[in-house]
């Protein structure tokens, strides 16, 4: 009995350790790097610390600019992606569409194939349309590619809402439109939020499309990070990585507040 519980405990500790290593490990590495002046292998911590790189990042406007650009693109992408996904998801969830599988597959395409050639190709098309080096070009690319997340998540949510709940409203005289906005949509909000978070985080960290469509004229944060670390400036890249995390964390915190309140309780009922 006792030995058994010790074994369990050991397993637990090991498990927690592994999880920490996987989840927190990379972050800790980045955090340390951002303060390191000299850090050579095999030292566990840097030989010399400095705040120089943090100061440098904030002195250079381009880091904050690119961060703001990323934020703008991500928010716009969320807006478009969700707006398109909601009606489409409702149709997928409630109606038998002709060629449903093919349609869903079409939405999956940008994610299913290696993204590099897709975005390089898209960049050429956008180039002709004057969308290269343009924020809207990236927003369009991100919207297209992120539809698969938002659409699938929201479709699943709508599908999980019992048809009875809609029929009860219809039965009491509500039009389809009214049923959707008073019953289906409020009940689907958790899924919409989950989709929004996913799209936001994905867009904030997306590199390929941002690079091929935006660079060199405009640089999103991940692209800037890439150029920094490609120049072997681990410190600058780390600082940007940390700064890049802040809007994502804030976004998740805000959204999580909504999630908690009443909707979570609602969806099971």
């Amino acid at each position: 009995m006792r030995r058994f519980s010790i074994l369990k405990l050991t397993l637990k500790v090991v498990l927690v350790f592994i999880i920490l290593l996987l989840v927190v490990g990379p972050f800790v590495g980045i955090a340390i790097w951002s303060f390191a002046r000299i850090w050579y292998w095999p030292n566990p911590i840097p030989q010399e610390f400095t705040l120089r790189y943090w100061a440098e990042v904030f002195r250079q406007g381009r880091v904050l600019d690119s961060l703001l650009l990323s934020l703008k693109i991500a928010l716009l992408t969320v807006g478009f992606s969700i707006t398109i996904a909601i009606p489409a998801a409702y149709a997928f969830a409630r109606y038998r569409l002709p060629a449903e599988r093919i349609l869903l597959f079409l939405f999956l395409m940008p994610q299913a194939f290696p993204q590099l050639p897709i975005f390089i190709n898209l960049a050429r098309v956008f180039g002709r349309m004057g969308l290269r080096g343009n924020m809207w070009g990236i927003v369009m690319a991100h919207t297209m590619a992120s539809l698969v997340f938002s659409l699938w998540i929201i479709t699943a949510t709508f599908k999980s809402i019992p048809l009875d709940l809609e029929q009860a409203a219809q039965n009491l005289g509500a039009s389809r439109w009214r049923v959707f906005w008073t019953i289906t949509f409020p009940l689907g909000i958790p899924g919409v939020i989950a989709g929004a978070i996913h799209v936001f985080l994905w867009s904030m960290g997306e590199f390929n499309a941002a690079f091929f469509i935006g660079a060199p004229f405009i640089q999103t944060a991940p692209v800037l990070m890439y150029t920094a670390s490609a120049g072997y400036n681990m410190q600058i890249a780390s600082v940007i990585a940390i700064v890049l995390m802040i809007p994502s964390l804030l976004f998740m915190l805000v959204i999580e507040r909504f999630l908690k309140a009443e909707y979570i309780a609602g969806i099971g009922g």
Binding site: A168, N171, L172, G173, G269
Partner: protein, 342 residues
């Protein structure tokens, strides 16, 4: 005045006939119960009237208005869903007020009506709760309140008591009937529970395989079932399949045709006694001899398995009396408590 009239409703799901030429009528203030086993088409009938089923034929009239092709939201019928279908993101008050808001009533009027129905159903104290905070019985009342508050032409109840536990169900039967009578609202009531239908309905329609087999008042359905299915479905029965000669020997007039006949015995009305007790019987009563071959204690009563002497079959009968295994007994079934069908 006729509130609901359906004419020859048809609905096919592939080869299955869910509705096979179904015509029913409900008069003002009348409660029609549709009973039948699962798959008999009773729920399809209810959902057709609500407008949720695309019919393959037939017409539906509500207060003389042809609603066959109208969408559900324009029929002014209110449906009670079997699983209540309360909206989890709204309070009880909001749930009930929904239909009134859709009807564009003023805020004061809505408040007044909702409060009336909350009091009528004795759930005023629940107004600000969410459905997830209610017990099953409370949810049932809220669902009912939501349906009746809009004063529909017709109320559709889909198994309204089936999700309640047995003890509450018995009590609610009385309440529900009293309430519907007070409101004088025409009601189509679907249930698989024949006893519930007998106790609540003004008239009963018995369905099987998409067809209506018989429509009548509860007593008529119980005492004069038109065929074997109705006889067996209503009440607690034993059905004995046997040869006509054997039944003739018991002194019953039997239909001429048929190799085999079905004798339906209302087991709940059969009287079990020791074979030596003398019994007053008329010529139309049925007296069967048998031997106890099994028993099951039920509390107030005991359930006996009796092997019939004349009919080569066993039947189950409850009795308050105590009998021993292998004891010879007689079973008295009065006229009107047994039926013979081909």
């Amino acid at each position: 005045m006729v509130v609901l009239k359906t004419e020859g409703l048809k609905k096919y799901y592939g080869d299955v006939k869910a509705l096979d030429d179904v015509s029913v009528e409900i008069k003002e203030g009348e409660l029609l119960a549709v009973i039948g086993p699962s798959g008999s088409g009773k729920t399809t009938l209810l959902r057709s009237v609500a407008g949720f089923v695309q019919l393959d034929g037939g017409k539906i009239y509500i207060k003389g208005r042809d609603v066959t092709d109208l969408p559900p939201e324009r029929r002014n019928v209110a449906m009670f869903f079997q699983n209540y279908a309360l909206w989890p993101h709204m309070t009880v008050f909001e749930n009930i007020a929904y239909g009134l808001k859709v009807r564009k009533l003023s805020k004061e009027k809505i408040k007044e009506k909702v409060e009336w129905v909350l009091n009528f159903l004795d759930i005023g104290h629940l107004a600000n709760r969410k459905p997830s905070q209610l017990s099953g019985g409370q949810q049932q009342r809220v669902a009912l309140a939501r349906a009746i508050v809009v004063e529909p032409d017709l109320l559709l109840l889909d198994e309204p008591l089936s999700n309640l536990d047995a003890k509450i169900r018995m009590r609610i039967r009385f309440e529900l009937r009293a309430m519907l009578k007070k409101l004088k609202i025409a009601t189509l009531y679907v249930t698989h529970d024949q006893e519930e239908a007998l106790s609540i309905a003004d008239r009963i329609a018995v369905m099987s395989n998409g067809k209506i087999l018989q429509v009548g008042e509860p007593r008529e359905i119980y005492r004069k079932p038109v065929n074997l299915f109705v006889a067996d479905f209503v009440g607690v029965n034993c059905v004995v399949r046997t040869k006509p000669e054997l039944i003739k020997k018991l002194g019953i007039v039997v239909p001429e045709k048929g190799e085999e006949l079905s004798l339906v015995i209302r087991a709940e009305e059969a009287i079990l006694s020791r074979s030596n007790t003398s019994i007053k019987k008329t010529s139309n009563d049925l007296l069967l001899k048998g031997v106890i071959v099994g028993k099951l204690y039920l509390g107030a009563k005991t359930r006996y398995e009796v092997k019939l002497q004349e009919l080569e079959d066993t039947i189950f009968i409850n009795s308050e009396e105590e009998f021993q295994l292998d004891e010879p007994v007689q079973i008295l079934v009065r006229e009107g408590s047994y039926f013979v069908y081909t």
